[in-house]
């Protein structure tokens, strides 16, 4: 148990892997660590944008928006 209302249960073992289940109230969010890790990694990469590439990125996005405007009726 974690706290009063979160339960970890062993669902299955196969060789050296185990399948765990989490029983929690509906309002408790259970996320996989990979999702947090992915977002964290994007934040960190975003903070390291090379300046020359940022200038080009801005022009590329401006072009995309301009092209879209032109194609609108």
């Amino acid at each position: 148990m974690i706290g009063d209302d979160i339960e970890i249960i062993l669902l299955e073992t196969k060789g050296d892997t185990a399948k765990l289940g989490i029983v929690a109230p509906r309002d408790v969010k259970v996320y996989r660590q990979e999702i947090y890790q992915a977002i964290k990694s994007e934040n960190i990469k975003a903070s390291q944008a090379p300046t020359p590439a940022v200038d080009v990125a801005s022009s590329l996005l401006k072009d995309v928006l301009k092209a879209r405007k032109r194609s609108e009726p």
């Binding site: 309002d27 969010k29 996320y31 996989r32 999702i35 947090y36 992915a38 977002i39 964290k40 990694s41 994007e42 934040n43 960190i44 990469k45 975003a46 903070s47 944008a49 090379p50 300046t51 590439a53 940022v54 200038d55 080009v56 990125a57 801005s58 590329l60 996005l61 401006k62 995309v64 928006l65």
Partner: protein, 161 residues
């Protein structure tokens, strides 16, 4: 009267923009920080034509940390992040008009490969200046969605199926 008690501007030394005078009223408070930047709660948005339509999200607690963000609906008109009741409370949203959503943009060395993080959008209350990085775990959104489509070479084979 407050002006006697506190200076309205604070000076911030930044890596990207040099010395900035930051208006306290412009600060957006992310009490939980951003993922990977959990200790940094205070951020400001810096508009600059040089990066438009992107904007800089400059950390006030660390002058060397700035991230590019963009309004996701400019490029993904159907994008609607689901914000649960708990997050709405956190953001003190009284009306939908107060909500601003911005997504983090990663610009690699080859800018054509830049990506937007639709899985972990930043949501903030423009009126109350409080924000949070959401985690749309139940959505199909990608943390690395390409922003610029690959050019289609004229002689490219037509994909089948």
């Amino acid at each position: 009267m407050n002006q006697l008690l506190e200076t309205p501007l604070m000076n911030l030394e930044t890596t990207r923009f040099g010395s900035l005078d930051v208006d306290h009223g412009a600060i957006i408070h992310f009490p939980l920080g951003l993922l990977g930047f959990e200790r940094f709660a205070r951020w400001i948005i810096i508009d600059s034509d040089a990066v438009a339509p992107m904007r800089w999200l400059q950390c006030v607690d660390a002058g060397d940390v700035a991230l590019l963000v963009v309004e996701p609906q400019l490029f993904f008109a159907d994008y609607v992040p689901t914000i649960g009741a708990e997050d709405r409370d956190f953001l003190q949203l009284a009306s939908e008009d107060e909500l601003v959503v911005a997504c983090v943009v990663v610009v690699p060395d080859d800018p054509a490969l830049m990506t937007i993080n639709l899985l972990g959008p930043l949501a903030f209350n423009a009126a109350k200046r409080v924000g949070k990085q959401l985690v749309l775990a139940e959505s199909q959104y990608s943390a690395r969605q390409r922003l610029i489509p690959d050019p289609m070479p004229a002689d490219a084979p037509v994909p089948v199926g």
